[in-house]
């Protein structure tokens, strides 16, 4: 058994609102061990980003966060951010401070956490830019973010995240805002860095292809809850939750007939302000019964861990 790094237990995130609280995340748990790669998938509003931002302590002040977040056995603190646990975000265009030079933005983690001198931090920043394959790295150090392309900016974000050699990297939809060829480059870069450094990685995405490519373990979220989790090989071939199955079916396959229909999931993902009672997926589920409408199923262990009253059994 490898050592546990990040332990998230019974995490919930709520936002007080006039018409009743908005439940963004409900009872989410994750135990991340050294060196593994976990993919978190789900539609927009499923609570993926919210759960991880809450774990990092990065949610706005009015968010009500409950549950326990521990790192290496001790409570998670601000000093761990950027030092042990680093995070990169969805939108590289707006995630860098516009009036600070790229080099300075990488160097400030180094001077803060590792107490490096200005010159040493700059040298290390240059080295980091080269590691994330930024072209013309020396010149980039003194450029401002608006002088770089989106892909370059995401590389700079990754360089910032890697600055202090973190043990955990959380990537929140790191490629969503980038065009397809750049997406592939950034994913290859992340996969390579993970391998070289043995970092644990949590990657949030709604692209199952990404998960299949890099993750060891997958968590599927729906309506703010974890509905299924398991090894990639199991979950992506024979998912047990009807939602996971529908999600997989909605991916076009290369061997599908060309004129065949695209599979979709009928209806809309639920709004966190008005979650259906019981299992949040029941209005869209073909296997739903009365019990699904009244009671949320507990997560039960099995070939994959699944929270469903009527899981799809192995055929």
């Amino acid at each position: 058994m490898k050592e546990s790094l990040l332990e998230i237990d019974h995490l919930s995130v709520r936002y007080p609102a006039p018409g009743g609280d908005i439940a963004a995340v409900n009872d989410f748990s994750l135990n991340l061990v050294a060196g593994e790669c976990v993919g978190i998938v789900g539609e927009s509003g499923a609570g993926k980003s919210q759960a991880l931002l809450a774990a990092m302590g990065l949610l706005p002040r009015h968010a009500r966060v409950a549950g326990s977040i521990r790192y290496g056995g001790a409570p998670f603190t601000r000093e761990l951010r950027g030092r042990r646990v680093a995070m990169i975000f969805q939108d590289p265009m707006t995630s860098l401070t516009p009036h600070l030079r790229v080099g300075a933005q990488i160097a400030e983690s180094l001077t803060h956490h590792l107490r490096l001198s200005g010159a040493a931090a700059r040298a290390r920043a240059l080295e980091l830019l080269r590691q994330v394959q930024v072209t013309d790295a020396e010149r980039r150090l003194d450029q401002y973010p608006h002088e770089l392309s989106g892909g370059m900016r995401q590389r700079v974000m990754i360089a910032i995240a890697l600055a202090c050699n973190p043990e955990v990297l959380i990537a929140d939809e790191p490629t969503t805002a980038l065009d397809v060829t750049v997406q592939a480059q950034i994913l290859a870069l992340l996969a390579g860095l993970k391998r070289e450094r043995g970092m644990a990685v949590v990657i949030v995405t709604h692209d199952l292809g990404v998960v299949a490519g890099v993750a060891d373990r997958v968590l599927v979220m729906y309506g703010g809850r974890l509905v299924e989790s398991g090894a990639v090989a199991d979950l992506l071939t024979t998912p047990r939750h009807p939602y996971s199955r529908a999600l997989l079916r909605s991916m076009p396959r290369i061997d599908d007939p060309l004129d065949g229909p695209l599979h979709t999931i009928a209806g809309q993902p639920p709004s966190p302000a008005r979650l259906p009672t019981g299992c949040a997926f029941h209005p869209r589920c073909e296997r739903a019964s009365d019990v699904c409408r009244s009671r949320f199923p507990a997560l039960a262990a099995g070939r994959t861990d699944v929270a469903c009253h009527h899981p799809v059994e192995d055929a």
Binding site: L58, R81, G82, T94, P98, H99, L100, S109
Partner: protein, 307 residues
């Protein structure tokens, strides 16, 4: 940066030329002339006076002559304050008006920005509500109401400061006028700062800075404050225009011998040269202050720097 400033400064010359030309003709469109209200003036003497000042010439000729003397830095003689040139008149009052205006703008920045920032950091707290209540009052109350109120409290009751008047070199006489002038600007800047800082603190790059594990103090001062000041800097141009026009009222309320009164008196008297002189001086000031605001903007945000 210096070369950019010099080039932009040179670019102000055509703008100033347009201001001079427009105001020259607009003043002359107003009915009456400088010597019309002196009822006892016999027609021959009036004609002589007008000939002496060149007012008998066609307007186009007058305009060209005015430009010519202007190019030598000469604003001409005042039509009403006999024996005084416009330069002398403005020169008497301008240093005081400038000091007052500058003091008001600096006061507004020095108080408005911290007030707004504190309000944003304590959003929905007691301090936030007090600052915003003050801001509404400050914006709503005109100078001729605030001025006498301040004079009443600090001058008459508390006797901390003189009620009105002026004695050269005595800063105590400037405190109440500058505060009166600054109050609405303080209020507006506080509101601007609060709103924009709240927005910046929610932005993605501030989240990135927090994700680095930096203390909140560094997040605020290194990452958030500069972008948050952009709207304040944009407002500096209009704010100085407000302060300049406001100083007309405030100088009257507090009996300060500034140059503001010359604009009003000059306009009422149809003292063409005096009004033109004031317009040129105040217009140039406005242009330079707006230029400074532009350059500051470029320093705060590298994306708007011109090559």
């Amino acid at each position: 940066m210096l070369r950019l400033a010099a080039r932009r400064l040179l670019g102000l010359v055509p703008t100033l030329f347009v201001i001079v030309t427009l105001s020259f003709f607009v003043i002359r469109l107003a009915p009456g002339g400088p010597f019309d209200d002196e009822q006892t003036l016999p027609p021959e003497i009036k004609a002589n006076l007008e000939a002496a000042y060149g007012l008998d010439q066609p307007v186009a000729t007058q305009y060209l002559r005015y430009l010519q003397s202007l190019s030598h830095g000469d604003f001409g003689p005042s039509f009403k304050f006999k024996d005084f040139s416009v330069t002398e008149l403005i020169g008497q009052g301008l240093p005081l008006s400038l000091t007052l205006g500058l003091a008001a703008v600096l006061l507004a920045l020095a108080l408005g920005v911290p007030l707004g920032a504190f309000a944003a950091l304590r959003q929905n707290g007691a301090l936030d509500y007090s600052v915003m209540a003050f801001a509404v009052l400050g914006v709503a109350l005109p100078g001729f109401v605030i001025g006498p109120l301040l004079a009443l409290v600090f001058g008459l009751h508390l006797r901390w400061l003189p009620v009105a008047g002026w004695s050269p070199g005595e800063w105590r006489y400037l405190v109440l006028p500058a505060l009166t002038l600054a109050l609405p600007v303080i209020a507006y800047i506080a509101r601007l700062t609060r709103g924009s800082l709240l927005e910046v603190l929610r932005s993605n790059f501030v989240r990135t800075a927090r994700a680095k594990g930096l203390p909140e103090r560094i997040v605020l001062w290194r990452h958030a404050i500069r972008p948050a000041l952009l709207p304040v800097v944009s407002y500096l141009g209009p704010a100085s225009a407000f302060v300049m026009t406001g100083s007309l009222v405030v100088e009257t309320v507090f009996g300060l011998p500034g140059s503001g009164r010359y604009l009003v008196q000059g306009a009422i008297n149809r003292d063409y040269t005096l009004v033109m002189g004031m317009i040129i001086v105040y217009g140039s000031l406005m242009l330079v202050l707006n230029l400074i605001a532009d350059l500051l903007y470029g320093w705060l945000d590298p994306r708007v720097r011109y090559e």
